[in-house]
Subunit: 133 residues, 2 copies
């Protein structure tokens, strides 16, 4: 296993993601980065994101607008599922993982669940209020 180094760029990407605490796309991360590191290359973003995923520090998700999004994986977000508001793009976390009951019934059929991904989207209270006025 090769060693990994703690560069300013990697730290910065991590800090962007942990400040955001919501999934971000490659382009969003890139745009944030060039404010601090104007010479950063997009390939650096790709490579850093890859290595952070391999280190299990971030998660990759697909969101409704068909782009890949990356989210920090810290204790508070670990194995949480969220719903996303299509209007304001805010993220709301689900109190518990609804897969576990399914997992149990599937294992009765001999199917071992190793991975799952849930994406729920809709309109949040605030946005609905705004839409009504």
């Amino acid at each position: 296993m090769e060693n990994t180094r703690n560069t300013k760029q990697k730290q910065h990407i991590l800090s962007i993601l942990s400040t955001a605490k919501r999934p971000m796309s490659i382009n969003e991360i890139y745009s944030c980065c060039i404010e601090t590191y104007p010479r950063i290359a997009k390939s650096t973003i790709y490579r850093t994101i890859d290595s952070l995923i391999k280190q299990n520090l971030i998660d990759k998700y697909y969101l409704s607008d068909n782009e890949l999004f990356y989210q920090i994986k810290d204790n508070s977000t670990e194995h949480k599922h969220y719903v996303i508001c299509n209007s304001c793009k805010k993220i709301f976390h689900l109190p518990n993982c609804p897969i576990h009951s399914i997992q149990d019934s599937l294992s009765e059929y001999g199917f071992d669940v190793t991975d799952h991904y849930i994406q729920i989207s809709g309109i949040c209270k605030e946005c609905r209020k705004k839409a009504d006025t």
Copy 2:
């Protein structure tokens, strides 16, 4: 609203998807198509898939290997969820949609669920047997 025509290519793509009854990637669809229409262009696949989505005849999904997959939307698969075996890629349908209970509790908080997507993957019974030997 523009009219849409029923070309051999479009029919063929639809028939491939309905025969498969499992999600297929652009490349898989393309490979199938060139067997019957050796001169079909990949851009035709992209454009046809787009128009089929607009016509609400197929659905777009993300599966575990990070490719977009497309699945026919017929009565038997409409609003069904499935689990996919990472090994043989077979699809198993879930008997019921686990979102409804979540949806109810979310609506108590004023969140309107408009869309959801569940992806569960793992290893099926058969593949596990094979792996054991």
